[in-house]
């Protein structure tokens, strides 16, 4: 039988810069097909071309035996291609039912039949073992449920092909398992799935074949079980793995003996999500904050930085207690904060690398309110060189940079202030493997020079490798402090997973 989907020789340019160069993608019927590559390899572009969000410049697409060129996601959906995007793309104010059923409503006498639609939404969610009030607005439910709603919507369309772009990024382990069961159900029903993910374990757990992309080209297609992890990563990065893994372990424990904390947080409580969190960071030390989604990690560090107001507890920084009520206080006191969402809270897309890099430093660069451009240029040049930021020059717009390089600019934004403490919330999210290693080794180097680092990461191995101490948060409380030999994945996981009350709560919203 002919493959369900054949994309051949696809070209796409944005403003003259090629994003896809003769890329190929073939998906068989009833298979789960992994699509992987570094950021900027062209995965998203090829998916958006398939779903009609972008128009291709060249190449051909055969779907279900017929040549197609969709001009909108709507057309693609009608032809049997459903997509679940990385960021949840639903309408928060509207009810769960509407989010699932919009686009294929049930009607009676030409008007909407609400009761039938509610029933269908409930039935679809039941496949995921989720039982919620479908009339309530979507925003009433936690992210994981919203993700499931997005998947239920896609499946409800009786699709022949379901595309999942990093669907697991906001799910916990149990939810991932539920999702995998659904994917297997789909496969049995002869529905094909394109699965995009950065997490190797997941790929090996659920995928049949893999297409690897690099620099807009398809570089390898292989059955999953015939491809070792090393080969997969090598092929994805296009260089020897040894280079990637060239990182020393020697920095651990160098500074843990230094007395006195730069930051000390005691019994912090914020809103409903954080009830009792305590941790501390010493100079020259990397401290990890671990925990499942919703454990209160991000909320805690935001309060430390003065973004949100805590209800109770003490935050002492540099010896002063609760002196920080706004980010500007935190910055003045010597803190830096790279937020979780780079696009939403980090970069100023239309500004140049230089302007982004000096954003926080600006008041110090100015004399009587006038920016000293010469000094600003000197500083920017120094950091571009030192962090190896790849850009055409300091005046390039930051939006044109890759994720990894944007993140380096944001790191530099704080480093040029000579901070005493740097808070990093998911510093490597959405960044390719190569840049990840660079950023992590940079953080280590900085800690070696006496900087205190507080790091949140959802990738356990990353925290375990980088941090010399780890505080584990669960349901808004600090449940463990691990140091020395305890800093390993097993102990972190067992601390995170002590009891399962949290899971039930998520399921019931």
């Amino acid at each position: 039988m002919a493959p369900l989907l054949t994309m051949h020789g696809i070209d796409k340019r944005f403003a003259g810069i090629p994003a896809l160069r003769s890329a190929d993608l073939v998906v068989e019927r009833g298979e789960v097909h992994a699509l992987i590559g570094q950021n900027g390899a062209g995965k998203s572009t090829i998916i958006k071309i398939l779903t009609g969000y972008y128009r291709k410049d060249a190449g051909e697409i055969l779907f279900d035996g017929r040549p197609v060129e969709f001009s909108s996601p709507q057309e693609a959906q009608r032809a049997g291609i459903s997509t679940i995007y990385q960021e949840i793309n639903l309408v928060p104010y509207r009810s769960v039912t509407e989010n699932i059923c919009l686009g294929r409503e049930k009607r009676r006498f030409g008007l909407l039949n609400w009761s039938a639609m509610h029933a269908e939404a409930r039935a679809l969610l039941a496949r995921f073992k989720i039982d919620i009030d479908v009339r309530r607005p979507l925003m009433a439910y936690p992210t994981a449920i919203q993700q499931m709603v997005a998947i239920a919507r896609a499946i409800g369309f009786e699709a022949k092909l379901v595309i999942m772009d990093e669907p697991t990024s906001s799910l916990d382990e149990r939810e991932v398992e539920v999702l995998f069961n659904v994917i297997r159900q789909l496969r049995q029903a002869d529905v094909s799935v394109i699965f995009v993910s950065h997490k190797l374990d997941e790929l090996y757990a659920v995928c049949d074949r893999v297409t690897i992309m690099r620099d807009g080209r398809t570089v390898q297609v292989a059955p999953m079980n015939q491809l070792s992890r090393i080969d997969l990563v090598t092929s994805m990065l296009g260089r020897e793995l040894s280079q990637v893994l060239h990182e020393g372990h020697d920095t651990t424990d160098t500074a843990s003996e230094t007395p006195g904390s730069v930051l000390e947080v005691r019994n912090l409580a914020i809103g409903r999500k954080v009830s009792d969190v305590s941790f501390d960071v010493r100079p020259g030390e990397i401290v990890g904050l671990a925990g499942l989604l919703g454990a209160g990690r991000t909320e805690s560090v935001r309060a430390v930085f003065g973004v949100d107001k805590p209800n109770a507890g003490t935050v002492s920084f540099g010896g002063r207690e609760n002196a920080i009520v706004a980010p500007s206080d935190a910055i003045r006191a010597g803190m830096g904060f790279c937020s979780e969402d780079r696009k939403l809270e980090g970069i100023i897309p239309d500004m140049s690398v230089r302007e982004n890099l000096t954003l926080a430093l600006m008041p110090q660069l100015a004399r009587r309110g006038i920016v000293d451009e010469a000094r600003s240029r000197a500083i920017v040049d120094r950091f571009i060189k030192r962090l190896g930021i790849r850009c055409t020059g300091p005046e390039q717009r930051i939006r044109e940079l890759s994720g990894g390089n944007q993140q380096k600019v944001l790191l530099a934004r704080w480093l040029c202030m000579n901070p005493k403490l740097l808070i990093l919330d998911e510093p490597t999210r959405g960044i390719d493997v190569g840049a990840k290693a660079e950023i992590l080794s940079l953080i280590r180097e900085l800690a070696g020079q006496g900087l205190g680092v507080l790091m949140i990461s959802s990738e356990l191995e990353e925290v375990v490798e980088a941090a010399s101490r780890i505080f584990v948060l669960r349901d808004g409380r600090t449940v463990a402090e691990l140091h020395g030999d305890e800093v390993n994945e097993q102990s972190v996981m067992s601390a995170m997973a002590h009891g399962h009350e949290s899971d039930r709560e998520v399921a019931h919203g």
Binding site: Y53, S72, P73, Q74, A76, Q77, R78, T83, Y85, I88, N89, L90, V91, P92, Y93, R94, E98, N99, L102, G103, E105, R107, G110, L111, L112, R136, P137, M139, A140, Y141, P142, R153, G271, R272
Partner: protein, 324 residues
């Protein structure tokens, strides 16, 4: 999370405006002799039906997260076209005005959905264009309507003892409410306002629905123009200045979120009546002779009222944010 606060917010938006309306009516009834007399009630309804039509279109537009600044001059253009065609009968006048409104609406739809220009700026431009067209057609002066064809009945006549323009507005609101709540078109309007990208990726025909919404807004404004011409016996090329902002104010007072995604047709009507009654009560107050507030106070009071409503909304949404 904050669904209760959202409900509260919508509730205050929806019932707050009704409460205020009831309070204002009670106030007028207790204070002035003929406030609830048939004459005054019908006059208020007749006069405000034009604004009601414009505000209905605006309500849909705002729910999609857009804005339509062109409705005022579209109404002016509609009134001029209707007046020019009124000698040929009721229908030509009516359809002419409506058609002119739809034409401007189509321009808006094209500029916003095809050229991808922000609604604010697109409708700003068509506002100028419509105003220019109205002045050109009317030769810079008001155009008398023909009194022979019965066209003026559209604005001045009654049907079953109820003003015809009020009938038109009432039917439009019933249809509007039905469409918003019980058709996929209406739900798509709400979805677009909630998150346009998501609506598009969900495969909803976002562009087409948006285009239709602007088309409808133009058509309703044209219809308001027809009523304007019929009610005052003339096409008014310079009328309609500030109507768009009055309509926006009415929609906002009615609890529709200006960012889109949440809104209701019924409370928009209440918002229109509320703002209209303020003017009415001012007239009564002057009639009593106790104080002499010039008509200029009207806009000051409307502004203050708008401020009050948005301040309450803002307070409320801030509190809900904190609670979340």
């Amino acid at each position: 999370m904050n669904t209760t606060s959202l409900k509260l917010f919508q509730g205050i938006g929806r019932y707050g405006v009704l409460l205020a309306l009831v309070a204002l009516i009670l106030f007028g009834w207790l204070r002035y002799e003929n406030f609830l007399g048939a004459f005054n009630v019908l006059t208020v309804l007749r006069y405000n039906s034009m604004f009601a039509l414009v505000a209905l279109g605006m309500c849909f537009v705002i729910i999609t997260g857009g804005i339509d600044l062109s409705v005022g001059s579209t109404a002016a253009l509609g009134s001029v076209v209707a007046a020019l065609l009124s000698p040929y009968g009721v229908m030509p006048g009516l359809l002419g005005g409506l058609g002119a409104g739809l034409a401007i609406g189509a321009c808006n739809a094209f500029i916003i959905t095809r050229l991808n220009i922000l609604p604010f700026i697109a409708t700003l431009a068509t506002m100028l264009a419509a105003s220019g067209c109205a002045l050109l057609l009317a030769d810079n002066q008001s155009v008398s309507v023909s009194y022979e064809t019965g066209f003026v009945e559209l604005g001045q006549g009654d049907f079953l003892g109820f003003p015809i323009p009020a009938w038109i507005a009432l039917i439009a609101y019933l249809l509007g409410s039905l469409i918003l709540n019980f058709t996929s078109f209406g739900r798509t309007v709400l979805a677009i306002g909630g998150n346009e990208d998501a609506a598009r990726l969900m495969g909803l025909p976002a562009q087409r629905v948006k285009a239709l919404v602007y088309l409808a807004s133009g058509g309703l404004a044209g219809l308001a123009g027809v009523i304007l011409a019929a009610q005052f016996g003339a096409g008014q090329p310079i009328e309609g200045v500030g109507w768009e902002l009055f309509a926006i104010a009415a929609v906002v007072v009615g609890g529709t979120l200006l960012t889109g995604g949440v809104g209701s047709v019924g409370s928009t009507l209440a918002g229109v009546l509320l703002l209209g009654l303020i003017f009415n009560i001012l007239n009564f107050e002057n009639g009593l002779g106790w104080i002499s507030l010039s008509a200029y106070w009207q806009s000051v009071i409307r502004g203050a009222f708008l401020l009050l409503v948005v301040a309450i909304q803002a307070r409320l949404s801030m509190r809900t944010e904190e609670a979340a």
